[in-house]
């Protein structure tokens, strides 16, 4: 006897289920198929190729009218089911009731719409069905059309790439730090972003949408919480999906995040089954099609009274965007006892990472070359023991032996017109020519081309050009790499960051072939400094790449407490400041010390109290003294001509002016200044990084002194007649140091390497000096701020995450 089967939703999952059912027993059921969309089953995945114009809708239809007719399916397309009456065993559609013996729910999911102000404006759409796709395609007909996509996950990026392919100007706004954060790690996310930028798509990460702006009821722009406004004619929200469970819920079926089903795909009612994105199976919900196909098979068997059980397997992801080759499978986060194998080929833009646990691959992410994705995915699913092939695993199944990543690849890939020696303007082609003409060592290259003949920071690079050009004939002198994470020297890294315009940490790790996922305590602070010094407006300083003192804006003491030192400009203070300091000392139980840098130190403050003491000092008008930073520390002054009978100029005023100009700037190592009002030099200016000694005729500026474990007198840089000139020369000197020096080289060490002559020559050029000052000012537009005030705003970070002292001990 034929039973009545009603199916709600003609989706990917239910379509596949019907195929299995009719294959096994065409006469078992009399089927009625409801679908809210005014059409039958089509391949939803392929909406993206339809959007980009690679396919037409007709090509993605999976079941046509003939198929439904041949299998005797009663189609109720364009009709929504509004109710299920389980007591009477009928389904209520918009056009009337249908009785059932067995009912299958395949209602899929609903796109989640963030309830931003303006989300109900016309032109704000999700990306789920053909109508949405057509709305985006239609926009391509308008010249100069603009679209914004909220959400940098799989769907959002396919929508963005599809629209870009139709000539639409697209911006993607993503709240997380990198794209597709659920499938990709930072490195792969970086490469993906680069490919999308090449397609003309603007990608904004860590961007928080605030409001959708409309005009006459239609979307006009998206406004971010930092005030940025992105004009658009269409706004696509692709921020996630929620299982569509309303019908099931109202019918009183057991639901959680989705409709609860057992291993046989049966809901809490024995005659009602469910599958697809609307279900929840053992706590899991679904967003990709592979497990849904397994469910379809199981559900068909269950309907035919056969034993079958659904098992949820690992899924893999690919992005269907031409030119963005990525693959992600398994789990590459959370868990102990795991190790990484990382492979990068910067020249080809390739990144691969495998995560191993107990000699088994548990996760794989790759970008740029995904040919081996299926092979790795297979090993993940099978749980293959990979101990024997561990060393060569990352090279994939085709590996024939030998071959590791070439550290010289970056140099080999440089074009001929790439500048190698900045001082003398020598490019790679010229050097290669000289080498081929017989200049086969560094000295000869220097003599013929002048490359590496001046400041010398490009020496490593010239040697690499020699190595690439001469091959085995050139024995590379052992250069000191930054650390075990790379073979490059500090000088190499600095130069490549500038020449390749690397503006983020992932960019450095990838393009320079780092061997670790995110560096170590040696290289990361250095790279963080190089990036912020070279790209002040593009790169955001990363506190997690800083040593504790710079992260907490205070000096950690040997007992784990901190010292707090407000700035006293040029060593000047007043009664109000001293009163506030005294109050703070009382309130937080701090010891008080007058320092060698002409200010007052509050010692022994608890970490949790830091935001409070800063707030108090801020309120009295004081800011951080940066006594903890690789940056400007103090400008020590003497009382000068205002008070001293020997004084020739206003040394205190000049010191204050310099300190107010330079404070907040990050430098390769700490920087201390001194300004004395006459050659008696009471401010001990001539053992500072920069010292100014006032004389009757003007000012003597000297640099590169030291008074630490090593003591060294400064060397004269220039004599000038006005304060303005002092300020210009000092600023230019500091900026040159910021742009050129190796991290943790004090100015005296750096000057010893490049030579005072070169420094004088560079700064002597008026235009160069002005350019340096200008770049310093650009950087200071970001960094001349009080970090204490900023930290007070996120003070919860200074408290413990949790306090379990009161938990009952069992």
């Amino acid at each position: 006897m034929t039973q009545k089967l009603v199916v709600i939703g003609a989706g990917m999952a239910s379509g596949r289920m019907l195929e299995h059912l009719f294959d096994a027993d065409p006469d078992a059921y009399d089927v009625t198929l409801f679908n809210a969309e005014p059409r039958g089953n089509y391949n939803r995945l392929m909406l993206s190729p339809v959007l980009s114009g690679d396919k037409t809708y007709d090509e993605i239809v999976t079941h046509d009218a003939d198929w439904y007719a041949a299998n005797g399916v009663t189609c109720r397309f364009g009709e929504r089911v509004v109710e299920i009456d389980r007591a009477r065993k009928v389904v209520v559609g918009e056009q009337g009731e249908v009785p059932y013996d067995k009912l299958v729910l395949g209602t899929g999911s609903n796109p989640f719409m963030i309830p931003l102000p303006g989300h109900d404006l016309e032109g704000v759409i999700p990306y789920r069905d053909l109508e949405d796709t057509q709305a985006m395609m239609g926009l391509g007909d308008t010249p100069g059309a603009r679209a914004v996509v909220i959400g940098g996950g799989l769907l959002g990026l396919e929508a963005a790439a599809g629209m870009a392919a139709r000539g639409i100007d697209v911006a993607v706004v993503h709240i997380m730090g990198h794209l597709m954060e659920r499938q990709l790690d930072e490195a792969a996310g970086y490469l993906l972003r680069k490919s999308l930028a090449d397609k003309g798509i603007t990608v904004m990460c860590q961007a928080n949408s605030k409001e959708i702006v409309g005009e006459n009821g239609r979307v006009k722009a998206l406004r971010l919480d930092d005030g940025t406004e992105l004009p658009c004619d269409l706004l696509v929200m692709a921020v996630g999906i929620r299982p569509n469970i309303k019908l099931a819920e109202t019918a009183g079926l057991a639901t959680g995040k989705g409709i609860h089903v057992d291993d046989r795909m049966i809901t809490s009612d024995a005659d009602v089954l469910a599958l697809g994105e609307c279900v929840e199976h053992r706590g899991a919900i679904f967003g990709l099609v592979a497990p849904l196909y397994d469910q379809a098979k199981v559900l068909a068997s269950t309907l035919l009274g056969e034993e079958a059980a659904f098992v949820n397997k690992e899924v893999s992801t690919k992005l269907k965007v031409t030119g963005c080759d990525l693959f992600s499978a398994g789990d590459f986060a959370e868990g102990e006892g795991r190790e990484d194998i990382v492979f990068r080929d910067p020249a080809r833009g390739v990144y691969k990472r495998l995560v191993l646990q107990d000699n088994r691959i548990v996760g794989a992410v790759m970008y740029g070359d995904t040919a081996d994705g299926a092979w790795f995915y297979n090993h993940i699913k099978e749980g293959t023991d990979v101990a024997d092939m561990r060393d060569t695993l990352i090279f994939g199944p085709a590996f024939q032996g030998g071959g590791t990543a070439d550290p010289l690849a970056a140099v080999a890939a440089l074009p001929d017109d790439a500048e190698i020696c900045g001082c003398n303007g020598v490019c790679k082609g010229t050097i290669v020519e000289a080498i081929e003409g017989g200049a086969v060592d560094l000295g000869a290259v220097r003599a013929t081309t002048k490359a590496s003949n001046s400041c010398g920071t490009c020496t490593g690079l010239v040697e690499q050009v020699l190595a690439v050009t001469l091959g085995d004939d050139f024995a590379m002198p052992a250069a000191q790499p930054v650390c075990g994470c790379t073979d490059l020297t500090h000088e190499d890294v600095r130069r490549l960051i500038k020449s390749q315009e690397l503006k983020s940490q992932p960019a450095v790790w990838q393009e320079l072939g780092w061997k670790t996922p995110n560096g170590c305590h040696v290289c990361r602070p250095a790279v963080n400094f190089y990036l912020l010094a070279d790209w002040p407006l593009d790169y955001m300083d990363d506190p997690q790449s800083r040593f504790v003192n710079e992260r907490n804006h205070a000096n950690i003491q040997k007992d784990g407490t901190y010292s707090v030192m407000p700035r006293m400009w040029g060593g000047m203070t007043d009664a109000a400041e001293l009163r506030a300091i005294a109050d703070a000392a009382d309130k937080y139980g701090a010891a008080v010390k007058v320092t060698g840098g002409q200010r007052i130190d509050l010692l022994g403050v608890q970490k949790e109290d830091l935001p409070d003491i800063w707030r108090d000092l801020n309120a009295a008008g004081m800011v951080s003294g940066h006594a903890y930073s690789k940056g400007l520390r103090t400008v020590k002054t003497c009382v000068g001509k205002d008070w001293c009978r020997f004084g020739t100029q206003d040394s205190t005023g000049l010191g204050i002016r310099l300190e107010k100009l330079l404070w907040g700037s990050w430098t390769p190592h700490k920087v201390k200044l001194g300004v004395s009002g006459c050659p008696r030099n009471c401010a001990e200016a001539t053992c500072k990084d920069v010292g100014v000694v006032c004389v009757d005729s003007g000012y003597q500026v000297s640099v590169a002194g030291a008074a630490g474990m090593e003591v060294k007198e400064t060397e004269p840089l220039v004599n000038v007649t006005t304060e303005d000139e002092v300020v210009e020369w000092v600023t230019a000197f500091i900026q040159l140091y910021r742009e050129q020096a190796k991290y943790l080289d004090r100015p005296y060490k750096w000057v010893a390497k490049v030579g005072l002559d070169w420094v004088q020559e560079t700064l002597g050029d008026r235009a160069e000096r002005a350019a340096l000052v200008e770049r310093f000012e650009i950087s200071q537009s970001v960094y001349r701020t009080d970090p204490w005030a900023a930290e007070v705003a996120k003070s919860e970070r200074y408290a413990p995450l949790a306090n379990l002292m009161l938990e009952a001990a069992e």
């Binding site: 170590c520 305590h521 997690q544 995450l801 379990l804 002292m805 938990e807």
Partner: protein, 110 residues
């Protein structure tokens, strides 16, 4: 096992750590760049440096005082240095951090 909810993973900065005060002493909860989470003693066996203030790289942390490096998985000091920090079971469920209090209690009683 007695899993206690101590907060959300986003309360810890990526490649950073936060402290949890317990009867067994301060426990540092680390979050790596790949969003893995580890719990270990906050106190460096060398001279007691606060490891939660160290730089987190890969699955390692470097002590802020004298640069000893520890594996967050095994607790072992790396390289030439010899020492070990206690590690504690922790897991993440839908973003919530769950620390095993039974294990902590066992350690403090021991």
């Amino acid at each position: 096992m007695n899993w206690i909810d101590i907060g959300h993973i986003d309360d810890i900065p990526e490649r950073g750590a936060r402290l949890v005060k317990t009867r067994a002493g301060c426990v540092a909860v680390f979050r790596t760049g790949a969003d893995e989470v580890f719990a270990a003693s906050d106190s460096c066996p060398h001279k007691g440096g606060p490891l939660s203030e160290g730089i987190v790289h890969g699955r390692h942390v470097t002590c802020p005082l004298h640069n000893w490096v520890f594996s967050l998985e095994t607790g072992e000091a790396q390289g030439a240095d010899e020492g070990r920090i206690a590690t504690y079971p922790i897991r993440v469920e839908e973003g919530r951090l769950l620390l095993d209090a039974a294990e902590l209690a066992a350690r403090s009683a021991a």
